[in-house]
Symmetry: C4
Subunit: 496 residues, 4 copies
């Protein structure tokens, strides 16, 4: 990026306001983004709304500063915006900024709601409640939404409620040890931060605050491929001994993925979690409704060329993901990264076996938090399916799961049923309403609940978790016994 | 119809206002309908309300213009209403017209409700919501109502929610093909518009708007036997290459059915869907309550002779249906129509087998949208029953089903379980609140949801749908294994 | 009763206002009821509230005139109340009368509620709704209440919803015949009016209105042992060819039962339904709460000696029932009545077999409308239990059931599962809000629903009902297979 | 405690207001509690709030007078507070006292709520309702709260609703005998008062009122280890022939337990119920939220050193419990007490067998009222599990259970399934809103309901209860068949 940039006026900027010639200003720097419109993971339409304008507020809401300069070449930099000009924001944009501020925690008493002191929060549900009341409508919709009718979303947590515990009493439970090794990395607890995109929507420090919180709590963070900070910034926010995993969406533009994997290796990332359950975006209606509102305002405004179909933040973000991804790509990812590979998004015993046959180090049972395909079965049910159909998998790879885990007792149940660890996603995003401190407080709550559950169940070490401590009878009838349908034979359509 | 009709005054008309001598005016033409009272599918009572009066508004609400002249002979035409006379509508009738206008979409902002822009609707539920708020009370009651306690109506959709999907991951899903052949006709998707009566209640273009929407979307329309437009008008609304099916209620007056089948054949209709699950009208209480209100006003008014029992629009419309219809009539229908026959309304394996034995080309599993016999089992359960008792049926005929399908994932499940296609009924009626555009938008939503579901499940062609992708465990215990009751022996009453 | 009675003043009456010397006036006649206090089925406390006073209003609410003179001897008659005296009712009593009038249908527009025209009622639920809004609080509580937590009460109807129908289509269903023979008596439909006490609470004509309604509808009435009219009055309200059954609570004072049975025989009653599931009163809390209010006012008033425990109308009424009743009493009842005996209240296969072994003609599966022992199993489940454990019962006796039947489809299901007929209780009490006409209208609704259900299920005669038309899978797992507990052995407490 | 105490001024007291030098006044006596801060079962923080102040009100809310002098040595007594000084209560403390008064029943008409007359209460639910409306927020939270998501709390009672009764009819049920022997002690009914802490929160007479109520009702009280009155005071409140049991939490300071057991024996206690399901405190969020409010006010006030984590009353109270307790301690408890031992808190067949092998006299199936580990299985399910896995246990020890029992029919079901007796906990705390009379009235209600249920089920003596009277089919699929998981093998984590 050339340092000797010329100074441009606001009027200069306004001349480049079409899809064929599109400049925007971000933090007083002016960029030509015409060629980038088609490449933007979030779609070109959203950028066009700011063609010829200052896009700083909208940009900051989602991206950290480094990312822009990482993405564009120096040729795109056109100059500095004249600082003497008063930037007059359109009314709508001002409101956006207000909303962003609202989410940033500086002021917590907007609209008669006072964000409670952190120490008063005693469960993940409390964090969710605060998030719903303090995040912008857009951020809340993006974080909390799930696919279509929310059947899987609700089943994800309800299925844990349907597993009963069978505590053993009269054991000496003075000390309780929750420490566990995950892919060879030591964690103070059998859970890690699951990858979740765009943490900046909740707090300006975004993923970096999570990294610092994990450092002080001795936990592992699996960084989202759609993080709002550059990977290096996040890793450097932590300590030198801290372990990180990286989530990977394989990019349709493969060299970008190669570049990312090399960077991951150079930064000391410990494993790659290849996400395979969201190669096409799920239909998250709460998210999409926000988008259709935006489209409406875009249409009624002067910016032309916007896509009439809309599409939520999630749908837009997924556009770069490679839909051709298949098992044959695993060796390439292994070779490129030279890191342990975990396949995240396994939803059947059949695929678990396939994954194992490709030599991955772990599999993560997940339905993407109910955000991809509604009515797909909860991960805890897939865990049971593995025991029915391919129990040997547990001896060959580490098995993780996520989705709907809100309590220490949920974690204990997953461990009893053979999981090495679980991922916690949305709760950590919600905890960011309090920044790093929120991340730490949430971690302590989950550890405390897990410890209490272990002691009350009669064990003192996570390694003592065993299936005899859980009663899964209320789910057993739902567990598939075979890879295909248990009693319906496939009869391909004959030509009639 | 004699062109040289005399002109009659309003007073002339008023003289014929009894059941024995009943004239009405429709669009300034005066007809003697005395002999037609008993033949009116909707019952004579409703006509008698307008004896000696102008019935235009009430007529238009339900019928298209052609139908009246098709039905009556030229002898019934008595003259033209004197145009110089000012027609003074009774207060009640004016309100009726207001309500009709309300449904026609011209004005969408009545009573503080603004009908949203079409592109903001993103699911079938959105269409239902708009319909509830914009249709007349009567039309909403007729479309949305279902039998007695709504048990079947709710089970129809809930049973789809209870089937879980078991997606396979890491498949190349770049292209998704939803095209399917239905009775030899190509459809861009494995669903068609199920027959649903009286579309004019929602939009003045009624079934013709559906026909045009299907044309542009490449879908097949199964035209209702109780359509508000003449069959020819509907077929001619579409394109010459477009495929139509026709629903058939066999008329107690068989020659009428013969005439209809000949007309269908001459119009190029591709198949006849004989409806067999509503030979007597179900008890749809929401619909009947509207009717009892009407009876109340009739009784308190001056028109005598109305049936005290009332009966909803559905009950009245069903009066002409032949209750003697039995399997022995199938050959007659086949011979008369010389078209492929589908039996619509199969609810048991026993009847599926019988239908196959009569050489029909398809069977449609249906409980008439929960509108006929409450607590009858959902079609998706009957589909499972077929696999248990007579799986060979799937090799011999095409199997369709309808009722409660609101999501692309519902369609995918039906296909995985062996259905060739599904019918979508009420949602298309609701989509008519936006006319042809609504039909198209709804079709796009369903295709988009189906495509997304297919890709997320790991398939790219509807022919790849297979039972291993669904987990039906939550319904399996409900599936009958045998034609009769599995463990109770029939003990006919002995004389005691 | 001496005709030459003396005239007594209100002051004379007031002198006898204690438990040791208690006179009351009813319809201007003064009675000494001191000795009767302990014998009153409703307990002495309620009479004592009117000691030395005019009890006409309270008496009329529950009893028909004949009953008092039938019960007391002529010695108890003390004279006529001086008609010249103005009877000044205490305020509370006036309100009682107002409430009674409210229930009597003369005025239906109290408190902004207008009782709808009868023809607008289209289901049993509509009758229940009207009853709730027009009956006195006390009457509604007595009729609608059920034992403790209402688990059985709700299960009674829900279990019918959980049975699915499997209609057979394409049958000629022109004519539908609902006629059935019940204990040799012809009924136009396979249901009868189940015994339900104190119909006068709903209408002054009480059970007589039911009798007349049954006459015109061709249905059988099973008269309650606690009817508010004398048996003879009820029977005489009908026609000479009409069939009646009589419910029997065996009285702890056996000669009274002997007398009743002889009377029944002389009146041409066709069968005796011995009630065996309510030998001690159930705890119907809604009913008891009304009672505790009454006790409260009694205590705060001047009348002493009232029972602090209260007890609802039902509990009081049950006091005369013989708690020693056992199977050994059946032969005595048979010999005394020389009529066919039905045991009403069978709740297990074990007792069904016992009943058969005693030579009864029918058994009625019943949990007393959920009013006796909460969480006892619904009759429809016991019906299934009989098929599992002792199907031969169906060949030996007629089987009836009641409780929770509100739809024609419920009746059809019971028939398919082997019942000869069902009893309808509460709905008929509710229908009395419209007197005899209500009884007829309700009967027509039920017949119409049954006919519609039969036709839509593909049958035309109740004798064609068979188990293959119902899917009971959702209840099958609840059906006991053996008389005792299927897998728990009884281990009587050893002395420890 | 030295009688010749000096008189100290309020100012003298104020000088000792730190954690290192902490005096408080209780009922005009001044104590040095510095060394006791760490030993206080409720934690030192709560005492520090009153350091240098008069703590009488807060003390009285929870403790009876005797307990303080029993706990401290005479050295701790520092003198009498000068009575001439006017004690000026801080505002907050005054409100606390108001709230306490509110709970004491003297005034029942605060805030528009009039506590109903006792005789109007007819079920345990009525008592709960009154308690919710009259107890302080703190007391209600402590009594009514349960662990985390309340899953077990609700299942505890719902599981009883899911067991159906199968009454046998036509039995002579004139007399019903509910008497039962519990550990050799005669009880008028097969239930006893389960141990529940701090009864003074509901009534100033606390556990003594329960003792007197049990005396007049012929019931056994199992006294809580955390009673608000000294053991001797409670025992002496009753009659000399009355039987008591004592709950035991083994103290980490074992000599205290020794002392307690010796005292129990000397007072004639009949059995020791060792509580084993709450060795670490459960997370009762409603309770903890109250605590976090208190912490908030403490932090914003001047008292330093409070624990930021808070912790509800229950969590604080549990701090002294010995977490090392194991089966090996049973012989020591047996020898020390020389009384029959019951292990309370068994939740699996495995532990039931172990308990029997240690020679205990009874086991109590319990999940601590849903207050310990959420989603642990209800006791009634564990009772069924015992029948599946180790039915011989019923021949060797008496089996009790508690949790969620609110009806006489619940008690009957437990008896039918082999329980000797059940414990009733929260309802008795709630009944204390009416003191001793409330305890008696509640007992009568439960006995009456049990008697009614027995008679309606066809039995007249609790010894006739047998499994054939209950239908457990709706729970059977949830009952574990084996000690370990029925189909999942434990695969300990291999090092990978």
């Amino acid at each position: 990026m050339s340092p000797e940039a010329c100074t441009l006026s606001f009027k200069d900027l306004e001349k480049h306001s079409s899809a064929d010639d599109c400049w925007i200003a971000v933090h007083s720097k002016i960029y030509d983004v015409t060629d980038f419109l088609d490449l933007h993971p979030g779609g070109g339409g959203i950028i066009l709304r700011y063609a010829g304008k200052d896009a700083t507020a909208a940009y900051d809401e989602i991206h950290a500063q480094g990312i822009l300069e990482e993405t564009l070449s120096s040729d795109n930099f056109k100059g500095l915006l004249d600082q003497s000009e008063v930037v007059i924001l359109p009314e709508e944009q001002k409101k956006d900024i207000d909303k962003i501020e609202k989410t940033r925690g500086q002021s917590t008493s907007t609209e008669n709601y006072t964000k409670p002191d952190l120490f008063k929060l005693i469960s993940t549900h409390d964090f969710e409640d605060v998030a719903e009341k303090t995040l912008t409508t857009k951020a809340w919709a993006f974080y909390s939404s799930a696919a279509t009718d929310l059947v899987t979303h609700h089943a994800n947590s309800n299925f844990y409620r349907r597993i009963m515990l069978r505590p053993r009493v009269m054991r000496n439970v003075t000390d309780a040890n929750t420490q566990r090794s995950i892919l060879g990395c030591t964690s103070t607890a059998p859970f890690f931060v699951a990858p979740a995109a765009m943490a900046r929507l909740a707090h300006p420090d975004g993923e970096c605050a999570i990294a610092r919180g994990c450092a002080s709590e001795g936990l592992i963070q699996c960084i989202s491929n759609n993080a709002s900070y550059p990977l290096a910034s996040i890793v450097e926010s932590g300590t030198s001994t801290q372990a990180f995993f990286l989530q990977l969406y394989v990019n349709a533009d493969r060299p970008k993925t190669t570049q990312l994997l090399h960077k991951a290796r150079s930064l000391g990332i410990k494993a790659i979690f290849v996400t395979v359950d969201a190669h096409v975006p799920g239909k998250r209606e709460a998210d999409e409704r926000i988008a259709s509102e935006n489209v409406a305002s875009a249409i009624s405004g002067s910016v032309a060329g916007n896509d009439k179909k809309g599409g939520g933040m999630g749908r837009l973000m997924g556009q770069y993901v490679d839909k051709t991804l298949s098992w044959e790509d695993i060796p390439w990812i292994q070779e490129t990264s030279r890191l342990p590979i975990v396949v995240k998004g396994i939803q059947s015993a059949a695929d678990a076996k396939t994954a194992v046959s490709y030599g991955v180090k772990g599999i993560m049972l997940s339905n993407h938090g109910g955000r991809a395909l509604d009515t797909s079965q909860p991960a805890i049910l897939t865990l049971l399916e593995l025991h029915r159909i391919c129990p040997e998998v547990f001896d060959k790879v580490e098995v993780y799961l996520d989705g709907g885990i809100t309590r220490g007792s949920d974690i204990l149940k997953a461990l009893c049923l053979g999981a090495t660890a679980v991922g916690i996603g949305r709760p950590y995003l919600y905890s960011l309403c309090y920044g790093q401190e929120g991340v730490e407080h949430l971690s302590q709550i989950l550890k405390d609940e897990l410890e209490t559950s272990m002691r009350l169940a009669g064990i003192t070490n996570v390694d003592q978790s065993h299936p005899g401590l859980v009663n899964t009878s209320d789910l057993d009838y739902l567990v598939p016994n075979v890879e295909e349908h248990p009693w319906i034979k496939w009869r391909p359509k004959a030509k009639m």
